[in-house]
């Protein structure tokens, strides 16, 4: 298994944990750090975080599985969160999701053959003013039409090749 956190990261977190009253509050930061490094959070990642924070793996898992954007299963390099809530729906979100499925040749929840994209329908992303919207990594995109989506996908494919 690839390294989940660098020794330097672990030292930094340890130092931080020693200074705060409720280490629990760092669960998400640590899980995100593991995810940034590893792409997703394997069981070993949950156990690593639990060990650092003095919690049981279950206590970390309760948080990890609550959040949609902590991936407890392998995902593509660019997980796409496509909003399926009311504002985006009223502005063509459904058609946009269909277009994504067709152009990536995957169903919701699946990862494209090239391993780059995972399509994850999600509830409101909080950018209703830019509906219909999607989110890739930590960046949100919108308002989108099919051409915009194609352009974003092409850019990311290019980035992946570089």
């Amino acid at each position: 298994m690839a390294e989940l956190l660098t020794a330097e990261q672990i030292d930094q977190f340890r130092a931080h944990i020693a200074h705060i009253e409720h280490p629990r509050e760092l669960i998400i930061d640590l899980l995100r750090a593991v995810q940034d490094k590893h792409g997703w959070v394997p069981d070993e990642g949950v156990e690593l975080v639990a060990g650092l924070l003095g919690l049981t793996p279950l206590e970390v898992e309760e948080i990890a599985t609550f959040y949609y954007k902590i991936y407890r299963r392998p995902v593509g390099r660019y997980p796409i969160h496509i909003c399926d809530s009311i504002c985006c729906w009223s502005r063509g979100g459904e058609a946009l999701a269909e277009h994504l499925q067709k152009s990536l040749d995957i169903a919701p929840g699946e990862t494209s053959a090239d391993g780059l994209f995972t399509l994850l329908p999600t509830c409101c992303l909080g950018v209703c003013g830019r509906a219909p919207a999607m989110m890739i990594g930590r960046e949100s995109y919108g308002p989108l039409n099919n051409e915009d989506v194609d352009r974003v996908l092409a850019e990311l494919r290019q980035e992946a090749q570089a």
């Binding site: 069981d43 949950v46 919690l55 049981t56 793996p57 279950l58 206590e59 898992e61 309760e62 599985t65 609550f66 949609y68």
Partner: protein
């Protein structure tokens, strides 16, 4: 104290009560799921909707979240509230499978009851149902997640109330899953409670799976025999087999929950080695013949050697009634009164509790409500598990728990542990050492609003509890008492102690010298209870006559010249008095008999037409003793006479099984002051401390197969520095040398153990059984095995 009207009935409730609780007080059950008396209300299930007609916020409200107000008018049966509840019932059922015919919860399913109560009968939902993969939660709890309605009661019980950290809620929305991080046995010592609280068949008792439907189960309110707390239980059985134990409700003692030792430790009732037949001189006889032979032999002994040659031993395992009759028999024979606790140091602890401490005793409820509990020489999870849960409630409510104990004490909550030797704790209580800690504790106790001191009878002994009594008195003030919660060895130790006459510590000497020729043991085993087990075994083997009344297979029953099998607490009626002096009655659940599963060996029971049930001979010890005494009173009459005779037992005859019980009257005698103060300073030595452990230390749980997965093997626990000093490593097998013999056991190291002590578990049925809890530490040495 607001007065409100619910469904045209007026009710006055305490401040802070909710509309739901007010309705409950009127006997109106508003359908509900997430509300539980011990867990409180969270307003999550939306089932308990009612209509507030008049009040500060009229309209449809969740009754469990709405505080009762003065002058409020509430209706539970409006069309709006009923319609709402019906819809809630319907959507709770959308994902619930229709597998009631094969579900273990059938017949005691709150979901069934509440769905019907909500008025929802016909399903409209035709879509797919959500399905899960179940986890293996170990040998005690079976999981069937598809039935889950996400009420969160299991997590609120397991994590919030019981402090478990390996079972929780994962996921969100439709994906919510209640389980562990990985498959495996639930770690909490209170894990079985999630079975009781689950309102449907998600979490069921794996040891009881597919055995009996509720309506076929024989059940009755009982008292747990596994420690001195006297928790309310409801054992259930069928076909002469005790199949399960669930928690009873007694708000004064255990509340709504019990520990896993009490729940899964009942195998002793079905144990194949249990004495089932009366035996005289090595051959089976009828009970009547056995009683006749007993009477003849005892009267022979009395006429040949005088009444002094007969000794009797009662016990804290036997019921109050049986012990009373034993004492009566001794009085009639004019022989010395029975010894009710064979361990002299334990007997003194009981004597102090029954006497000096009796006006300061705290119930478990008072412990839960305390704001500062100081535990002196007790390991609650081992000696009285539900006390550990009570201590957690103290901490949850913002209170503090301090523990002074030599062992690596664990509790399901945060607490302050001061590792001190037994002798140091006694010395501290006497004000002779650790003065800084003592003064700090004293100050905190004085300032606390509801302080409670817990005293482990085994470590403190009579002197320690006496000193604890002085400490409580000095912490009393005009507004409140400082209460004390002593831990005793057995379920009825208090009751037996109440009957104890003048102190007798010379039984062993009287046996050895031949002054005692005949010994009568009532549900007690001198060979495993007396601190000098080896000497006791020898002394007993030289007796002319040993008569034993017992339901457990013990050294004494094996050796007995006369054996009268008695019934377990679930097979008879009786009264136990718990560690706070609460008299509690238990009722018969089952008739004694060899379980059908054994006689039928999994098939049809044998086709023999005999009038008697196999193994039906055991009878309640009090009935047998009545036969001995020619006493024909009913149990009620017996209790009535006892209450008239013993002023402290006032109210005994009014007890009802399943009730809250009744405290015995405080002792009116002058406090018992012990002449010798047994305080030693043994520092520098390595000494052995035999202690009770969580599973397998009491005579009932060590015979319960179900508890095997929780049992830890014999091991020696020392502070890592003691191991280092002797060049020993954790995990290696070491030699333990004691006056009782040399043992080989693996060594474990724990930094929480006090220096200079070797902690060793007391485990009846293993080579370690020669070490009995309740004594002072013993000289010992540990060394590596010779290469």
């Amino acid at each position: 104290m607001p007065t409100l009207t619910i469904d045209n009935q007026q009710v006055t409730v305490p401040d802070g009560n909710t509309v739901f609780e007010a309705a409950e007080q009127l006997g109106i059950v508003v359908p509900h799921f997430c509300y539980h008396h011990a867990l409180g209300a969270v307003g999550a299930c939306r089932m308990c909707a009612v209509t507030v007609v008049e009040g500060s916020m009229p309209g449809m409200k969740m009754s469990c979240m709405t505080p009762a107000e003065e002058g409020m008018v509430v209706e539970t049966g409006t069309a709006q509230a009923e319609g709402f509840r019906e819809h809630v019932g319907e959507w709770l059922m959308t994902n619930h499978p229709h597998d009631c015919p094969v579900c273990d919860e059938g017949g005691e399913c709150q979901l069934q009851e509440m769905t019907i109560a909500s008025g929802h009968g016909l399903r409209n939902y035709r879509g797919n149902k959500r399905t899960y993969q179940n986890q293996d939660l170990g040998p005690y709890v079976a999981q069937e997640m598809n039935r889950c309605i996400q009420c969160y009661r299991c997590v609120r019980t397991y994590q919030d109330y019981c402090g478990g950290r390996d079972f929780g809620a994962m996921g969100s929305r439709q994906r919510v899953f209640f389980g562990r991080f990985r498959d495996g046995m639930l770690e909490s010592d209170f894990s079985g409670n999630i079975v009781d609280v689950c309102p449907t068949g998600v979490l069921t008792d794996k040891t009881f799976r597919f055995k009996t439907r509720l309506w076929d189960l024989e059940q009755a309110p009982s008292i747990c025999p596994h420690c001195s707390l006297g928790c309310a239980t409801v054992p259930g059985g069928r076909y002469r087999e005790l199949q399960r134990v669930v928690s009873g409700v007694n708000l004064q003692t255990n509340g709504h929950f019990i520990c896993d030792r009490g729940r899964f430790g009942s195998g002793y009732v079905n144990h194949p080695a249990r004495p089932r037949h009366a035996r005289a001189g090595g051959s089976r006889v009828s009970v009547t013949d056995a009683v006749d032979s007993l009477l003849r032999r005892i009267s022979e002994t009395v006429s040949q050697h005088g009444p002094e040659a007969v000794a009797m031993v009662g016990s804290g395992r036997a019921s109050l009634e049986a012990n009373l009759l034993l004492r009566q028999w001794a009085a009639e024979l004019n022989c010395p009164p029975p010894v009710f606790e064979l361990h002299p140091r334990r007997a003194r602890a009981i004597r102090q509790t029954v006497g000096t401490l009796s006006d300061h005793l705290a119930s478990l409820r008072q412990v839960r409500k305390s704001d500062l509990v100081v535990v002196f020489g007790a390991d609650p999870l081992a000696e009285a598990p539900m006390l550990a849960l009570a201590l957690r409630q103290v901490v949850r409510a913002g209170g503090r728990v301090v523990v002074l104990d030599p062992r690596p004490v664990e509790l399901p909550c945060e607490f302050e542990h001061h590792p001190l030797t037994q002798e140091k704790i006694l010395c501290l209580l006497a004000g002779n050492c650790e003065k800084e800690l003592f003064n700090r504790l004293l100050q905190d106790l004085m300032a606390a609003r509801r302080p409670v001191l817990v005293g482990g009878g085994d470590l403190l002994g009579g002197v320690g509890l006496q000193l604890l009594g002085h400490l409580t008195e000095s912490c009393d003030n005009d507004d409140r008492y400082c209460l004390v919660h002593p831990l005793l060895p057995q379920a009825n130790s208090f009751g037996a102690g109440l009957l104890e006459g003048p102190e007798q510590t010379d039984l062993l000497e009287r046996l050895e010298s031949g002054r005692v020729r005949a010994l009568i043991c009532l549900e007690s085993d001198p060979c495993s209870e007396h601190p000098e087990a080896g000497r006791m075994q020898l002394a007993i083997s030289r007796l002319d006559y040993l008569a034993v009344f017992d339901y457990l297979p013990t050294h004494a029953t094996k050796r007995a010249d006369l054996l009268l099998p008695t019934t377990t607490p679930v097979e008879g009626d009786g009264v136990f008095i718990n560690n706070e002096g609460r008299m509690q009655a238990f009722a018969r659940v089952l008739q004694p008999g060899v379980p059908l599963a054994v006689t039928g060996q999994g098939n049809h029971p044998p086709r023999e037409f005999v009038p008697a049930t196999p193994g039906c001979h055991p009878r309640p010890a009090w009935q047998l003793l009545q036969q001995v005494l020619g006493d024909e009173r009913t149990l009620h009459g017996l209790r009535q006479a006892a209450a008239e005779h013993e002023s402290r037992l006032e109210g005994l005859s009014d007890l009802q099984p399943g009730g809250e019980g009744l405290r015995v009257m405080p002792s009116s005698q002058a406090p018992v002051e012990e002449s010798t103060v047994e305080i030693w300073s043994q520092d520098g030595d390595l000494r052995l401390l035999p202690v009770q452990v969580r599973y397998g230390s009491d005579h009932a749980s060590c015979l319960s197969d179900k508890l095997t997965p929780r049992m830890t093997g014999p091991q020696l626990i020392v502070h890592p520095q003691e191991a280092e000093k002797r060049q020993l490593k954790a995990g290696e097998t070491v030699l333990l040398k004691t006056a009782q013999g040399t043992f080989r056991f693996p060594l474990a190291c724990d930094e929480r153990v006090v220096r200079g002590r070797v902690i060793v578990p007391c485990l009846p049925g293993t080579p370690l059984e020669i070490l009995v809890p309740g004594g002072l530490s013993l000289p010992c040495e540990i060394e590596g095995e010779a290469p």
